[in-house]
């Protein structure tokens, strides 16, 4: 199982803050994105958004970031703190 978290405008777009999924076929962030986009509807944002960021186990990760069972993976828009 992979724990997924969604933040800020992405959370509102999806209507969900997080979930646990079985995504044993996904070994990288980009595969996880494709897996989620395949749900269609609002989940298309994972295919269409160029600005979406990801973190794996609470560290920023690129599209090629490795993902494995038990990881916590978060998706969110560019940060705007400070």
């Amino acid at each position: 199982m992979i724990k997924l978290l969604y933040f800020a405008s992405l959370r509102e777009t999806l209507g969900v803050a997080g979930e646990e999924i079985d995504a044993s076929g996904c070994t990288h962030v980009q595969e996880l994105r494709a897996h989620l986009a395949a749900r269609g509807g609002v989940w298309n944002v994972f295919a269409t958004s160029k600005s979406l960021r990801a973190a794996v186990n609470q560290a920023m990760a690129g599209a090629d970031g490795a993902v494995k069972d038990g990881d916590e993976v978060a998706f969110f828009p560019p940060v705007t703190g400070g």
């Binding site: 978290l5 933040f7 800020a8 405008s9 600005s51 973190a55 609470q58 560290a59 920023m60 990760a61 690129g62 970031g65 978060a74 969110f76 828009p77 560019p78 940060v79 705007t80 703190g81 400070g82």
Partner: protein
């Protein structure tokens, strides 16, 4: 090297004083306060969401990079979350060093990196509803001028 994420306001004067207390080798303290801007576009309040757990790690990592790059003696970072009104402080970064060049550089670096790497998101309340603040390209530019980061960008 202390990092806090909190709803409460902070005491800027006390934080700055603590950076050089009992350390008479600290000849320079540079600091920064970021505040909620209000005004012309009718922003009534700002809400700050963050990623609990990652936030503290991200801030600590940014501070650790600064401590490797510059000769700094103490660093303090505070970032508020929750609902804030125009004029209220959002963030504090303070750096004590022997010399002012290091204090200024490390302080500005931490702010620039915080702006692009720490998982905070601002939502503005306006007269017509609320909206998420867009990331600014100038923030990416500010962060990238410090050169290649250690680790993934």
């Amino acid at each position: 090297m202390s990092v806090s994420v909190q709803e409460a306001d902070f005491d800027t004067g006390a934080e700055i004083a603590a950076l050089s207390r009992n350390d008479d080798g600290a000849g320079a303290v540079a600091s920064f306060v970021g505040l909620v801007r209000g005004g012309s576009d009718g922003v009534g309040a700002m809400s700050l969401e963050h990623y609990p757990g990652m936030t503290e790690k991200a801030l600590a990592e940014i501070v650790a990079i600064a401590c490797r790059r510059w000769d700094v003696r103490r660093v303090r970072v505070i970032h508020r979350i929750g609902r804030l009104l125009p004029g209220e402080p959002i963030a504090f970064v303070g750096v004590a060093s022997s010399h002012r060049g290091d204090a200024f550089a490390a302080c500005e670096f931490i702010m620039d990196y915080l702006k692009t790497r720490a998982p905070f998101w601002k939502k503005e309340e306006t007269a017509t509803g609320s909206r998420w603040v867009d990331a600014r390209e100038t923030d990416d530019a500010a962060a990238s001028r410090w050169g290649a980061a250690e680790g993934r960008d």
